[in-house]
Symmetry: C2
Subunit: 122 residues, 2 copies
């Protein structure tokens, strides 16, 4: 550690970007967050229907991971049939500017690649 010679050096322990990407990286987590932001509150099968291609396993795992990291809250209603609602926590909402920036960048790029694409929502 000696002094401040190594200021600015990145490693896996102090790198904000590695840290952040570990939380929101992967294939489905950002799309899930984005859908929750758009719809405020969604049930498990709402998400599943909206995220075409996602499997139960991936949806369950992604939601659990997001919940454990405090980005998503899970509210369970004790009824039959079961009802579980997901929504963004405050910390999740704080990520929205980043999500929007990623979306805007990606959408513009994607549209340039494929001019027929007009309805991307996620």
């Amino acid at each position: 550690m000696s002094q401040n010679k190594e200021q600015g050096v990145i490693n896996e322990k102090n790198c904000v970007m590695i840290y952040s990407m570990e939380i929101i990286g992967g294939k489905w987590r950002v799309p899930i967050l984005w859908k929750l932001y758009q719809n405020k509150t969604m049930r498990y099968n709402d998400l599943k229907r909206n995220l075409v291609g996602i499997t139960n396993i991936m949806l369950t795992r992604s939601l659990k991971s997001l919940e454990e990291n405090g980005l998503v809250s899970r509210k369970e209603f004790n009824q039959i049939p079961p009802r579980v609602e997901y929504s963004l926590t405050d910390n999740g909402l704080q990520l929205v500017p980043a999500l929007e920036a990623i979306f805007n960048w990606g959408k513009e790029r994607m549209t340039k690649e494929d001019m027929t694409l007009k309805t991307a929502r996620c």
Copy 2:
């Protein structure tokens, strides 16, 4: 296809978020972009020194992928010893707002987790 009933539905072909994360996801690509943004132009070994923990393979692969996706430009000088400089392209620069938003979110979160952390740069 029928009609527009499925507007807003996400799949892997039209989902901007999946598309974007495929380009910038993974462990090292965002940290590399962030360092290039901070330093404008960096040589291969500059990056390697700054991204502690990265191996040649991962740095090479990540740079190549970013270059192929048009986010990073690679300028090779024909000299001995070799000199190669990397920097962000216009499209890479367009991602900076997203990078900043991710950084700000992650930094605040990380600082709350670990109050001793004051010097995170990446």
